[in-house]
């Protein structure tokens, strides 16, 4: 990872230098090439208007006849990619220094930041996983409790139904028993009333008959009859020695 970052940074820098260097250094290279072709010191070159930019040429050779050809030759021979050697060296040094500074100060911070971020993300993922697990556990617990509650509710309902059935049956049996008792009591009372009425009727009939009999007896029991009854009593008593209790007479 670290190597890839370094390689990517270096490649970027090289491309930047390679793209920027020709634009800045091509004019100077052409000028130096022309001076070398004309064998004049670099300090004596001048700048000429050229198609696509300015071209530095030696001042005394500016009007030379074949200057155009020389410029064209130098223009053709100049490397469009590689910068001048000085630029390249400075660029490399600058890159090295920059890379060293970055590696020395920035990379650890970035690395630490990346590490922290990774750890944070990992911890967040773990927290999320844990939260998810907890949520699933809570969900399972909730579902289990819900199922238990449903089962409990069903059991309570069943028990209530059974209790209600038992109570209803008990009440029905009690009412039926009470009705039976009332019916039996009423039947017994009716029977007793009937028997009592019959007994009363028979008693009244007997009383009437006995009253009539008493009346007849009283009227028919004159003194002679009474004397005869007394005599019979005495005779029977005398004939029943040792008799105790009631005697028919």
């Amino acid at each position: 990872m670290r190597h890839k970052l370094a390689a990517a940074a270096a490649g970027g820098l090289v491309l930047a230098v390679l793209w920027a260097a020709p634009a800045l250094a091509n004019v100077e290279e052409i000028g130096v090439c022309v001076a070398e072709e004309l064998e004049v010191p670099e300090e004596d070159v001048t700048v000429l208007e050229e198609e696509g930019g300015e071209v530095e040429v030696p001042a005394q050779a500016a009007d030379a006849e074949h200057l155009g050809e020389i410029v064209e030759t130098c223009h053709v021979t100049a490397n469009p990619i590689l910068p001048a050697k000085g630029e390249l060296i400075w660029g490399i040094l600058s890159f090295a220094v920059l890379f060293f500074l970055l590696r020395r100060f920035a990379f650890p911070a970035v690395k630490q930041a990346m590490k922290d971020r990774t750890e944070r993300i990992r911890s967040e993922i773990e927290a999320a996983e844990k939260a998810k697990t907890d949520a699933e556990s809570v969900k399972e617990d909730y579902e289990r409790r819900l199922a238990d509650a449903k089962n409990e509710a069903g059991r309570i309902m069943e028990e209530a139904r059974q209790d209600a059935d038992a109570y209803r049956n008990q009440q029905r049996e009690a009412v039926e028993a009470e009705i039976g008792e009332m019916r039996e009591r009423a039947r017994a009372e009716i029977e007793a009333s009937k028997n009592q009425a019959l007994a009363d009727l028979r008693g009244e009939v007997a009383d009437i008959a006995l009253a009539a009999a008493e009346q007849v007896v009283e009227q028919s029991l004159d003194r002679d009859t009474n004397v005869a009854l007394v005599e019979r009593y005495i005779d029977q008593l005398a004939g029943t020695n040792g008799a105790n209790g009631s005697n028919g007479g």
Partner: protein
Amino acid sequence: MADDRIEAYASALLAIARSEEHSHEVEDELFEFARAVEENDELRSTLSDKHLPAARRQQIVEELLGGKALDATVGLVSMIVAAGRARDLPAIVDALVSLRAEGEGKQVAEVRSAIELDDEQQERLARALSEATGKDVEVKVVVDPSVLGGLIAQVGDTVIDGSVRHRLDQLREKFASRN
């Protein structure tokens, strides 16, 4: 306590009656008056009424018995009534008769009859009762029209009932038992 008091009154009356010349008649009169008090609620209540002065109660006794009973009998009854024991008079007289009979080695038989019994009938009845109970029985006759006919004899706890009333009661019970 009540029995002791009745026994005490009976003993006292017996002692007084024995001192009289006609003690047997006095006893018979006392017995008859005791039965009358026993069977007549109004007479018993009047003679027992403590709101009436004792003199008034004694006057009633004299009005009832005067000229009909011996003076000794009237005096004894008057004494019991004045003592406020008219309600106990039947029990006192019964105890008196029993005490006297026991003293003579006899037992009293209370005989209820619808008619008067002559002496011959009473003697035969006493003999028959003596043979029946194995005791020397003395008969005391109480005329009770409710007997209708025949006799009821009670010797101690033994009752020998040969009355028409008993026959009618048996007939009534038979009717009731058939119900």
